[in-house]
């Protein structure tokens, strides 16, 4: 005897895939091959704001204004030289953060079970790992040393790194020392750790952008301005005499409506170079 709901569910076992399924697969992905990302506007703005964040980090790394020296590569300035990967057994959750130059990113996990200090086991889940937005990536200059701060976690801590922004892609096993030798680019750093009696084999993913050397800012013009133009869609970021234009008009339909859920990648000219602005610079957004 089975309950009615079970009996009805078993009828679904007769359902089979339509014959056209294989043909559709051979067409290849219609999406971009990645899980859903934030909306277009959010991504555009995030991408642009990332320049400001990056610039701020670079300026911090250079030690701020007041340098009379000519701009030089980051590797030569006295600045934070280590990115700190902290693994902490929190009261209610494992807490993993990656920090550099005063900026931190929290790790993303697909799920874990954690024995809380009150003795109750808590399990946390995400339906899907995020696809990291541009602004999620922690900028770290090339050559930065990575150090581990794990007062609570049991050894060994496993590290893997994969190029790109997809945490589901296989990461190559690595060591702290090898992380400092990464080429410029975006990476997902996966860290698996265990805490005795609290949680086992918990993996967190960190978005990291290894950046090459960049000239330092020489003056502070004041306000950074983002102009978002609708027709054609164009994002212009200006700071002093620095100016970048991102033209993404192909994401609009002929009638001027935005393409729903159309995910874009900002063009190379928007992502390949960075505006450098000092921390604390007001950022004004027009037209968003």
């Amino acid at each position: 005897m089975t309950e009615r709901w079970e009996s009805e569910l078993q009828q679904l076992r007769q359902v089979s895939a339509p014959p056209g399924l294989r043909g559709r697969v051979t067409e290849g992905p219609h999406g971009d091959g990645m899980p859903p990302a934030p909306g277009r506007g959010q991504r555009v703005l995030a991408g642009v704001v990332a320049f400001a964040v990056f610039g701020a980090a670079m300026w911090l790394a250079a030690g701020g204004f007041g340098h009379d020296d000519a701009p030089g590569p980051l590797a030569t300035v006295s600045a934070p030289t280590s990115a700190v990967l902290a693994l902490v057994a929190g009261e209610n959750d494992p807490e993993e953060t990656l920090s550099f130059a005063g900026t931190s990113v929290a790790g993303s996990s697909i799920g874990y079970c954690w024995n809380q200090e009150n003795g109750v086991q808590k399990c946390a889940d995400a339906f899907w790992l995020p696809t990291f937005a541009v602004s999620d990536f922690l900028p770290v200059p090339q050559g930065t040393a990575f150090v581990l701060d794990n007062p609570d976690a049991a050894d060994p801590v496993e590290l893997a790194v994969a190029p790109g922004d997809d945490p589901s892609v296989i990461g190559r096993g690595t060591t702290l020392g090898d992380l400092g030798a990464l080429e410029p680019g975006r990476y997902v750093l996966s860290v698996t750790a265990s805490w005795k009696g609290r949680g086992e084999h918990i993996t967190f993913h960190f978005p990291v952008e290894v950046v090459g050397t960049t000239p330092l800012p020489t003056d502070a013009p004041g306000v950074a301005v983002i102009d978002v133009q609708r027709q054609p869609l164009r994002v212009i970021l200006t700071y002093g005499d620095q100016r970048q234009v991102g033209d993404i008009s192909d994401t609009w339909q002929p009638n001027g409506d935005p393409l729903e859920d159309h995910r874009i990648t900002a063009p190379p000219e928007l992502l390949g170079t960075f505006l450098v602005v000092p921390p604390g610079t007001p950022l004004v957004v027009n037209g968003a």
């Binding site: 005897m1 089975t2 309950e3 009615r4 709901w5 079970e6 009996s7 009805e8 569910l9 078993q10 009828q11 679904l12 076992r13 359902v15 089979s16 895939a17 339509p18 056209g20 399924l21 294989r22 559709r24 697969v25 051979t26 067409e27 290849g28 992905p29 219609h30 999406g31 091959g33 899980p35 859903p36 697909i110 799920g111 874990y112 079970c113 086991q121 399990c123 946390a124 889940d125 995400a126 339906f127 899907w128 790992l129 994969a162 589901s168 892609v169 296989i170 729903e260 859920d261």
Partner: protein, 180 residues
């Protein structure tokens, strides 16, 4: 890499990378042959009998897996998660478009669903997405809780919670009588 090219016979000796690539292609082709029905069936139930959405989500997930080649840690689990996400996105987009048009065209086409499944599919739609996915993977595909957790990308204790709540809700919606 595409399924049709994966199945193309290659004559002559292969280099090691070529042989590895061919083996991976064969793996994905085998995965498609062995698992596509189950993935489609799961998505069919998950979407409330939306065969069109289930087909697109299943195909898109396999196509993306093939495009990723050997980069995926666990292709089958990855395919399930992508398929769920694509289906959710499709249904959400339909819902938004239907609301904009003040139309209910986002509902399932009743003519495409076997009448004997309408009540069940309607009940499944009243579960949360996680409850629905867990119920279908466990009770339709017959997967153990740990495997359900693996394919959904969540922990086994959470799956058990979803199953418990999902069953309770189905009893409320479909009745508690027992059948032969």
């Amino acid at each position: 890499m595409r399924v049709d090219t994966m199945m193309t016979a290659v004559e002559g000796e292969l280099s090691e990378p070529e042989a590895n690539a061919r083996a991976r292609g064969a793996d994905l082709d085998t995965l498609f042959r062995d698992e596509s029905d189950a993935v489609y069936r799961t998505l069919y139930a998950f979407t409330g009998g939306r065969g069109d959405v289930a087909e697109e989500a299943t195909a898109e997930a396999f196509a993306r897996a093939i495009a990723h080649g050997d980069e995926l840690r666990d292709p089958l689990a990855w395919i399930y998660r992508v398929a769920f996400r694509v289906a959710i996105d499709d249904l959400c987009r339909e819902g938004r478009e239907a609301r904009r048009a003040h139309d209910d065209t986002g509902d399932a086409d009743p003519t495409a669903t076997p009448p004997e499944l309408l009540g069940l599919l309607d009940a499944l739609q009243r579960l949360s997405p996680n409850q629905r996915a867990a119920i279908v993977l466990h009770h339709v595909l017959g997967l153990e809780t740990d495997e359900v957790a693996h394919r959904m990308g969540i922990t086994a204790p959470t799956v058990r919670v979803h199953l418990h709540r999902g069953r309770r809700r189905l009893r409320e919606l479909l009745g508690t009588e027992e059948v032969e």
